[in-house]
């Protein structure tokens, strides 16, 4: 709870900071504040509690994920400083929006009441709408914002309908109550329908097929900073929330639902990977790869009992790799009019470090050992096989093979093509963020227990 309040407070502070004209300090202050909040959050790890008659429930799960979100936000905020330096007047808005977005996400993993959940998801989405369209004069950005907004609010409508049906069936918004009731028999048919609708809404948020169409366009159109936010933070949040919802509303999956999950998972990863193969635009490519990763994460839901750990690890691995790669991508494409792969030609020679980092993060996404992406995938496979769904795993493996194809397209460009233009010196912050992120990734890759032991 304190986390949520503190974050909101920090957001407000950032807004006010504009008035007192503290732009220079803003980024460091925000980052430090977030660090402090991180500490605060972690301090709550061992003490599960619930606030305001179960509006907010703090437990290991919520703390672990909140911490992950905060770390990601720190990285994103750190990057923003340089990214928005050409329109300084707006910087505090951007930062505060990001922090509010964080507030939304924290609410989404620590809600104890559907209304809190709804507020959280709306805060998150609305902030994202703004960020997506934030480049006012850029048609692409506008289009991205428009598309995201339309489809997003459509999805919210469906989620809202779902919530409404659940409420109608149980008469409660409180998760605990609903959970108890849902165990008993005699639930009207609206209840499962409502749950289904909520889940569908979340599937839209994590861009799982067939609700993925918005993702590539929005990712491509939005400013790179926003794309980074969406593909790392937003996706992770949505996934965690989806798990939390399913776990509370539908603890035992009926075989029918399992089949449905299998289908969605396979569909998402296949569509994502196959589509990614032929992309020229890096952001678009990562969007599709994100879709395929969504497929992987959905797979985790097949073994709900162990899913929490698996998801935490997978999302951490994926998001950290994403941050690292986006740090590089943002820097490379900062003053380019497009994000084509050709921009990365010869990076291996002009800037070995960034090239190495990007390579590492791509390898992590491809699931090559010592990078945490490998263990993430492996745990997923192991649990899914334990749960007895070999088919999904085989499909997943085939997909990982395909995915190597496009990840390496980028690597090949960096190491075998000749550089087109000389790169300017890299601002420290990019390198710092990228290195930190990839180091974290590797660390949890070498000692997965650091993460896996948290929730068990």
């Amino acid at each position: 709870m304190n986390t949520l309040i503190a974050i909101s407070g920090l957001g407000v502070f950032c807004l006010i900071a504009e008035i007192f004209n503290l732009r220079k300090l803003l980024v460091p202050v925000a980052a430090l504040g977030l660090l402090a909040i991180l500490g605060l959050t972690i301090s709550e790890f061992e003490t599960p509690a619930s606030f305001y008659n179960n509006m907010i429930v703090v437990n290991k799960f919520s703390v672990a994920f909140s911490s992950l979100f905060i770390i990601l936000t720190i990285f994103l905020v750190a990057l923003s400083g340089d990214f928005y330096k050409d329109h300084p007047t707006k910087i505090s808005d951007f930062i505060s929006i990001k922090i509010f977005l964080l507030a939304g996400s924290v609410a989404m993993v620590s809600f104890g009441n559907l209304s809190m959940f709804f507020l959280g998801i709306e805060v998150l989405s609305i902030s994202l709408y703004i960020l997506a369209a934030s480049r006012r004069l850029d048609i692409k950005s506008n289009e991205a914002g428009m598309k995201y907004f339309l489809m997003g609010s459509f999805a919210s409508g469906i989620i809202l309908f779902g919530i409404c049906l659940v409420y109608g069936a149980t008469g409660y918004f409180d998760m605990a109550e609903i959970h108890d009731l849902s165990q008993g028999l005699g639930m009207p048919v609206w209840f499962p329908i409502g749950v289904a609708l909520i889940v569908i809404g979340m599937l839209f948020k994590i861009a799982a097929a067939p609700f993925h169409f918005w993702a590539p366009d929005v990712y491509e159109g939005s400013p790179s900073m926003t794309t980074a936010t969406m593909s790392t933070l937003a996706k992770v949040v949505a996934m965690a929330t989806l798990y939390k919802l399913l776990n509370d509303l539908m603890p035992t999956l009926s075989p029918k639902v399992e089949i449905l999950i299998v289908i969605i998972s396979i569909l998402s990863m296949t569509v994502g990977n196959i589509m990614a193969l032929r992309q020229k635009n890096v952001k678009r490519m990562l969007a599709f790869s994100g879709i395929s990763h969504a497929g992987f994460m959905v797979m985790a839901l097949l073994s709900l009992s162990t899913a929490a750990t698996t998801l935490l690890y997978y999302t951490a691995a994926y998001a950290l790799a994403g941050i690292a790669s986006f740090a590089v991508i943002i820097f490379i494409t900062k003053d380019k009019d497009n994000e084509d792969i050709s921009n990365f030609n010869g990076l291996g020679k002009t800037n070995p470090l960034l090239a190495a980092i990007l390579t590492a993060s791509l390898l992590s996404m491809a699931g090559i050992p010592i990078f945490s992406g490998f263990f993430a995938k492996f745990m997923l496979f192991a649990n899914t096989i334990k749960a007895g769904h070999l088919i999904v795993v085989i499909a997943a493996v085939i997909n990982s093979i395909i995915s190597v194809g496009y990840y390496f397209k980028l690597i090949l460009a960096m190491y075998t093509k000749e550089a087109t233009s000389e790169k300017p010196a890299v601002p420290f912050v990019y390198t710092a963020v990228a290195v930190l992120a990839i180091l974290l990734n590797i660390v949890i890759g070498i000692w997965p227990s650091l993460v896996t032991n948290l929730l068990s």
Partner: protein, 106 residues
């Protein structure tokens, strides 16, 4: 109040709001004008709100109605942002026909 509900039966409320909701959906699907699409979305939300109220009466508890306020506020915020985006779109391409937004594809 309650007895009215008993007379009419909760199902009808559900059917009604589902109907409204579907109208909204179809509006979103078939209209190209962004404003109308917004309105259709609003219809969807309000259909749900109606159902909320009905349910809250049905369960004899106020939470549902409180939630309606939540959702209204949220909807308002959403539409505000949406309109802002729409304005900038209009500034850039001089039209609010969502069919024109096809630069991002493939």
């Amino acid at each position: 109040m309650n007895n009215i509900l008993n007379q009419i039966g909760i199902e009808n409320y559900i059917f009604l709001s589902v109907l409204l909701f579907c109208i909204g959906v179809f509006g979103v699907l078939y209209r190209r004008n962004a404003i109308i699409v917004f309105m259709s979305i609003e219809i969807m939300l309000n259909a749900v709100n109606l159902l909320f109220v009905a349910f809250s009466t049905y369960h004899q508890d106020a939470e549902g109605q409180v939630f309606v306020f939540f959702s209204m506020a949220v909807a308002a915020a959403e539409v505000a942002v949406g309109l802002a985006i729409l304005v900038s779109v209009f500034r850039n391409i001089g039209s609010i026909d969502i069919a024109n937004l096809k630069n991002l594809k493939g």
